[in-house]
Subunit: 290 residues, 2 copies
Amino acid sequence: MTTFTEKLHPGYAQEMMLKGEPLFEGQSPFQNVKFFDTERNGRVMALDDIVQITTRDHAAYSEMLTHLPILEHGKVKSVLIVGGGDIAIAAEALKHASVAEVVMAEIDPVVVEKAKEFFPEINRKAVKDKRLDIQIVDAFEYLGRPESKEHFDLVIADRPDPVGPAEILFADDFYKRIRAALKPGGFAVFQTGVPFYQPEEMTDTLKQMGRIFGTCGTYLSVVPTYIGGFMALTWVSVGGAVLGDARKAKKVAAAFTASKIKTDYYTPDIHWASFALPAWIARLVPKKRK
Amino acid sequence: MTTFTEKLHPGYAQEMMLKGEPLFEGQSPFQNVKFFDTERNGRVMALDDIVQITTRDHAAYSEMLTHLPILEHGKVKSVLIVGGGDIAIAAEALKHASVAEVVMAEIDPVVVEKAKEFFPEINRKAVKDKRLDIQIVDAFEYLGRPESKEHFDLVIADRPDPVGPAEILFADDFYKRIRAALKPGGFAVFQTGVPFYQPEEMTDTLKQMGRIFGTCGTYLSVVPTYIGGFMALTWVSVGGAVLGDARKAKKVAAAFTASKIKTDYYTPDIHWASFALPAWIARLVPKKRK
């Protein structure tokens, strides 16, 4: 393999030239797993030949799913990550001193083991952190356990696209279990695809979230190797709490400064800017029923 | 040709599957010119095998280089477009009733003729507009003419990357001619590459602009087929006028509503959000000399 080709969206492909030999290629019980270095995109993990994370641009994804809801919520102690086998999201969440516990519910042990081996710069510190609890488990099953009930201030769904083993992570029952697992005032955030190539995923998810949670919305990040420009991130809450409330701007900026967290993507300005939707994306938001 | 492959950034490529036969392939006096329909990206024009415009996402580029400076300036009458042979930028500028004159200085007659033929949905109305003056001319030469002096409220550099015939459009002398062509209070805006793959282009341009114009800055758009996520747009002014001054938010929103312009990307919220830079892009802004 000298070139990696991703054909996620029919009719379009991206190609990355490799640097040296692939680091790992294998079949886990769940999927094909590849780790490799590239000329332009840093180190990459691909599952079933879809890019999941690159060292060059993961901050745009990991930071926006962690720092944004954690800083705006203000009192996040307990975090559940659905998937997240590369441990990048967990690493960002653990940068917050207020966070006492991060549970990662990842089904694939091969992803976790190989991510520890090949992404040490991302997750070395997190792996040693006593607050991190890596559970090799189906997240749907984990969410159904009695001890998950009203346990989390923040649930982050870092799941692949809705095909194969991840399909269950897009069903009503999955979201209802998340709702039950959230503490009052808690938030959940979900990657919701790239609207340019997957517009229906954003619209359908918001309809589903409106039905199940009532309060929901979209914010955006730009992860160059998640091809297609903007990535939609969906937030939901229990009890009517709102994410993207710019009246909290001063509080969030002060909390970010106090945290002393160094970021590659997130800034307090980007926090609020990410809720502005280009006209074509705003039109994908389903109209509220009267 | 059943697949179009763009290799703009060494070590990376994007591929688009074609829909049907290419519409046009030829060699102009200046470059290779291709028009074709694709499965996912609409109709595309490529010059020397680099995507210049697609019907699916050009709004993110055309609208942000026109509506944003025109609405914030408030009194733009005369616009010069450097390049812009597809007539998409001109079409957006002409949507403003306040605009009395749009001069397009494009060197390649083949691009203009074929864009009229193959992008009628984008430029049909503009082509018939008496306010549009299409000059087949080297923009550098045009800017040097006596009648260009202090003639324009807005100059939009819609130029390709700094290679081949466009190289002159990145030299100090080119920018000095733009400075001379601007009326007091006028703005010029430039596409400045995709920082993810061309970080030095943004840094170098801002250094050069600081030297030549004094007042300058960056705002962002996201054009999916300009691969790499964010595209940097640079603004400059003569006489110290500032673009991205959020104190004008109410005025801009009212002017946009009054214009009745329908957009696919631009909104007043996106206007201000586009000045927020992710941390990694903010670090590409050269430090001001004391």
